[in-house]
Symmetry: C2
Subunit: 329 residues, 2 copies
């Protein structure tokens, strides 16, 4: 049994196909006819054909999301918020995972997916790298958690985030400071957000007369926490160290190690994370909140706006991080 088309709907409701199209796309139609058409649509279980729509010059109502390797709750929650917001505007999210640079090449050679989208959003991607690919992203591009003067973007003030972390740790009376982070340079597609947190942190320290020694930056990773030994060392040799974990994930590692060593956070050492992931509340971790849901939602709004009402100016949206005080600092 064939799927009903716009013609079937027109026939059943006794109007022309153009009228049905108007009902579908919000043209002006007399209320009574509109009602008949809607009834026919429901009655037949009609659904517009996307390909025909696109071909005829209509919009796809699809937005492409360039997704980095998902490692933390952060990515997932932002994507979810983004998706929800798009859906409420009747748009659909399609994910393009960035497994490697090879994938970009592929998109360059066959950008049908991009053409079949009304717009695109890059998610924590290194724009230098992306733009170097010479892919034509079209005009409707929004950057999420990366910055550029040439595109709309939604990002968090990571420098401020670092500063806030420093202030808390100083306030707690820490004498020596440490950061736990990961080496972004290994990641082809990384943005410089971790760098910024680090910079904000050490600048704020200096402003108060402290200093972040170079060797006090500990590198870990998301998959396999390699910082373990350094953490044991710090926790046993330092007097009440102040530790800034540039992602909550790293803080977890520290919390566990400390627990096994019978060191009490907030007493024997001070710890502040970054992200405010859902588990941190239970763990009593003091952390820097990123309003992930708001940010995801904002990105969706921005791209939809760009698609529907093209304007000639840029709209960079900067979100502000906030300290969530709990037990560890």
């Amino acid at each position: 049994m064939k799927k009903p088309t716009i013609r079937d709907v027109a026939r059943l409701s006794g109007v022309g196909i153009a009228t049905v199209s108007r009902v579908l796309n919000g043209g002006s139609v007399k209320l009574s006819t509109k009602k008949r058409v809607i009834w026919a649509i429901k009655n037949l279980g009609y659904e517009p054909n996307t390909s025909a729509r696109t071909l005829a010059g209509g919009k796809t109502r699809r937005v492409l999301l360039f997704m980095p390797e998902v490692r933390t709750e952060f990515h997932w929650r932002v994507m979810k918020a983004f998706d929800d917001a798009l859906d409420s505007q009747n748009y659909e999210m399609v994910i393009y995972p960035m497994f490697s640079g090879k994938r970009l090449e592929r998109l360059y050679n066959d950008n049908s997916l991009l053409r079949d989208s009304d717009g695109a959003v890059t998610f924590t991607m290194n724009m230098d790298f992306l733009l170097k690919s010479r892919i034509d992203f079209g005009r409707n591009l929004v950057l999420f958690e990366s910055q550029s003067d040439d595109y709309d973007c939604v990002y968090l003030d990571n420098v401020l985030g670092g500063r806030l972390a420093a202030e808390i740790l100083i306030e707690n009376g820490a004498k020596e400071f440490f950061t736990v982070t990961f080496d972004e340079r290994n990641s082809l597609l990384a943005t410089e957000n971790f760098d910024k947190r680090q910079v904000g942190f050490s600048k704020a320290l200096e402003k108060s007369g402290y200093r972040l020694k170079k060797e006090n930056t500990v590198y870990s990773s998301f998959f396999f926490e390699t910082a373990h030994e350094r953490i044991v060392e710090i926790l046993s040799e330092c007097d009440r160290p102040g530790i800034f974990a540039l992602a909550d994930n790293f803080a977890l590692e520290i919390l566990q190690t400390a627990s096994a060593m019978k060191k009490v956070p907030g007493v024997d050492f001070f710890l502040i994370g970054y992200d405010n992931q859902s588990w941190t509340e239970r763990a009593g971790l003091t952390t820097i909140n990123q309003p992930m849901e708001d940010m995801g939602k904002k990105a969706a709004e921005l791209i939809v706006q760009k698609i529907e009402n093209p304007v000639s100016y840029l709209q960079p949206v900067k979100f502000l991080p906030e300290v969530v005080r709990r037990k560890t600092a």
Copy 2:
């Protein structure tokens, strides 16, 4: 400047549009004309229009992947392999993330994405749940890491995996046995793979005269390892316990805790993981290997085969887990 169409190509190469289409889709064309057409395609930078193709009844060369919440290296590596294999056959992967049941409803109401795909693959999804949604997945559906009598599927023998783990631990001379897992029932979309590992493990234990006590199953989670205290307890109170971590992620937690407690794996306790994630080699973790790349590739082959040569029989493909012996057991 408009994009070139099939007509432009036909005109430039002096043939009819049908001939160009044949070149594009692999119909029989004289070699010399074929060459001319290909030259024209390159010359113009022509790219077929997906919507027109689909509308005209052609294939989209697109496969939809239902993605669960990605937490571990496992998901990422399988997706990558799947994607690579699809690409080599000139297919494209589109991800449909399963944020929640709500997302399924949405697909039910507007399954244009599904219609715009030639086939679909579910990735570690609970099929009961998925089928209950009454979504029409079409005939071209392949299940990855879940089983059903009604569809092609690619899966690992998880019961065997559990058995292998038990055998290793017994061989090491462990007296008391533990498992660390997570509670799948909380996850709407989970498959029963963890259950199966657990069953295989305890059955094998019993066959050798041992027993897995109910209270010896420790529940953790991927986001926030809640098993920490239990692990400390086990490690300090048991004489050389044998621990089966049903995912490498959980094993990592144990390794770290042990390290902080100065307990040596392979001596003070025995530990075996599951997955053979990339970091496990460096960590010296004995684990059960899942051939992720092979499995992802096989799933791709299966779905492409289904699309291109529909057959009337089912092809369940069972992969076998293998022990990777390292230092912890």
